[in-house]
Structure formats: structure tokens, C-alpha cells
Symmetry: C2
Subunit: 144 residues, 2 copies
DNA sequence: CCCTTATTGAGAATATATCTCAATTTTAAT
DNA sequence: ATTAAAATTGAGATATATTCTCAATAAGGG
């Protein structure tokens, strides 16, 4: 069975780049983690695990992961971005709590379809999109 | 006929705040401009028109305008935000060209509805949302 | 092993936006 | 008009996220 990391290795090598220990380490962490990680969080986790990958390398590798299609970048709306691997997920959008910061996912295939139609009508070639809804999650809404 | 600026004045005064010359000047510029302005652009325009409103005041007033509902804030996806007045516009989403930076609008009422349903299902109280599609606009796509 | 090219880390740089606080302006009450 | 209380302002400091720079290092092919 092919791991996500080995898919990333293929992507890297197909581009004529090097699959370095740093890149491996970062990729493995992203693929093993099921939360929505932001870059600084990821950097911290890597440090506790003994990786010496620098901030610059983390950001650079995240860009490569997104480019490969194995990872999605989510705009958190406050200047930060989160990353999540796409393996086994169909596309989904996000409900972002502006109080506790939690990120919930929701799926609505029809929305995707409507977006495609809108692009087609406008002669727009989409490379990605971001649908975030900001507000209060169930539990923050209750205690508000 | 009520101008958007006078509506903003009402909003400000209803909150017990002062409708200052700076706020008037900023509001008028936003309401008279039909493009998607970012804060720095707006600041530059105001300077050329002789306003001495500072950066801090521009940002603060934009927040008030958004709060009033007369202006929408659009996350441009690169860390910046753009602002557009809502007068005479129904809600719409954006096609953002990652080559030339143009922002096109599209409307799809059904998408709004599907979002509302998703929130309801999740017990999520939305305060705002952002649907941006990134890619190449018709003309950039042609010359690419 | 050597050469070329890619990658890395450390810290500087950039960019957007927010915060601080003393000075000023606004409004309403005298 | 004066005045007092409260809101607002500007200038610059600060915060935060991300990108850039560049010399040193590592990777892989011949």
C-alpha cells in the first residue's frame, strides 16, 4: 500500500527535486495528524519530536504539499492558514468559530457544482477555492 | 433621497458615537468608489484628495462601516482584505485572478441557501462568510 | 570522489493590521 | 459662549504571519 508520504516523494522527484529528511519529516507529520494545523503549530510539534527543520523549510514544504494536491490550505480568516491532508476526504468547506477557534467541516456537493457553473459562465479557470463561514460554534453559541 | 453616507451617519449616532469629518470623508470615498478597495489603497486615495486621515482611522472606520452593514469586507486570500459598499448589490461571491489581481463578482442565491442549511445542521451561528474562487480570469487565461 | 544543483537555517525583511496614549475634537449641558 | 465629559485622532510602536536573502551544506549523477 502506498503511503501519502511516498506519493509526495514521487511528486518531489518527478519535479527533479530532492526528497530530503526535512521534507519527509514534515510530510509525515502532516499526513499523520488529523487536525487543521497551522504552520507555527506544526513547527512546534516538529521541534518536540526532535526535528530541526526551520520555519522557512516548514513553510516551503507546506507550499510543495499544497502544490502536490495532497494537502489543502485553508484560510483561517485572521491572517493565518491551516493545512489538512486530503487523503480519504472528499472536498469540504469549513465552519470557523471566531470565539474558540475550532474548525468544523461540512460537505455540500451541490455548492461545488454551482461554483463550477459560475466559473464556466465567467470564463474563469479556477485553481482553488475557499468557502469559510465564520461565527459561533454550537458550544460557544450556548455559553455566549 | 438618502445617501449611503447619511445612513452611516445615522448608524454612528445611534450608537452614541461622533460623526467626524474623517469618518465622513472615508465613508464618502468608499461609497463613491465602485471598485474593491483595500485599506492601503483607500488611504492613498484619501491622501491625494487632501484628507489627513491616518492609517489607524481608516482601519477603524472601515470596521465601523462593515459593522453597519453598509460595506462588505472581502478576504483577498493573500493577507489583505478589500471593501465594497453593498448599496444596490445583492450578496455575491468573488472570482479572484491570481495573475492580474482582478476581482469579479458572481451571484448564486442557491449557494447562500445551502450554506444556511449547513449552519443550521451544525448548530452554528454564522456572523459572516467568504467564498472566493482563485484562478485565472478570462483574459489572463487567454494569454497564459 | 567531484561537480552541479537544490536545499537549508538563521535572521532580516515585508506586509497587513492593531494597539498605545497624549493631544485634540465633539457634543451636550450649562 | 464656556465648559466638562467622552470620543476620536495621529504618529509611531507593536504584533503576527509569512517570505526573502545568502552563505553553508547536502544530494545525486557521472
Amino acid at each position: 500500500m502506498r503511503t501519502e508520504t511516498s506519493r509526495f516523494k514521487d511528486y518531489i522527484e518527478t519535479k527533479g527535486l530532492y526528497f530530503t529528511p526535512e521534507r519527509q519529516c514534515i510530510a509525515e507529520e502532516v499526513f499523520s495528524n488529523h487536525k487543521h494545523l497551522d504552520a507555527e503549530e506544526l513547527l512546534k510539534i516538529l521541534k518536540t519530536k526532535g526535528s530541526k527543520a526551520s520555519r522557512a523549510t516548514v513553510y516551503r514544504t507546506l507550499d510543495l504539499l499544497v502544490e502536490s494536491g495532497l494537502v489543502d490550505k485553508i484560510d483561517l480568516g485572521d491572517g493565518r492558514a491551516a493545512y489538512e491532508h486530503t487523503a480519504g476526504h472528499t472536498h469540504h468547506d469549513h465552519l470557523i468559530c471566531i470565539k474558540c477557534g475550532s474548525v468544523e467541516e461540512f460537505e455540500e456537493p451541490l455548492i461545488e457544482q454551482l461554483q463550477d457553473w459560475a466559473c464556466e459562465k465567467a470564463g474563469f479557470k479556477a485553481t482553488g477555492h475557499n468557502l469559510n463561514i465564520y461565527g459561533y460554534c454550537r458550544s460557544c453559541n450556548a455559553t455566549q
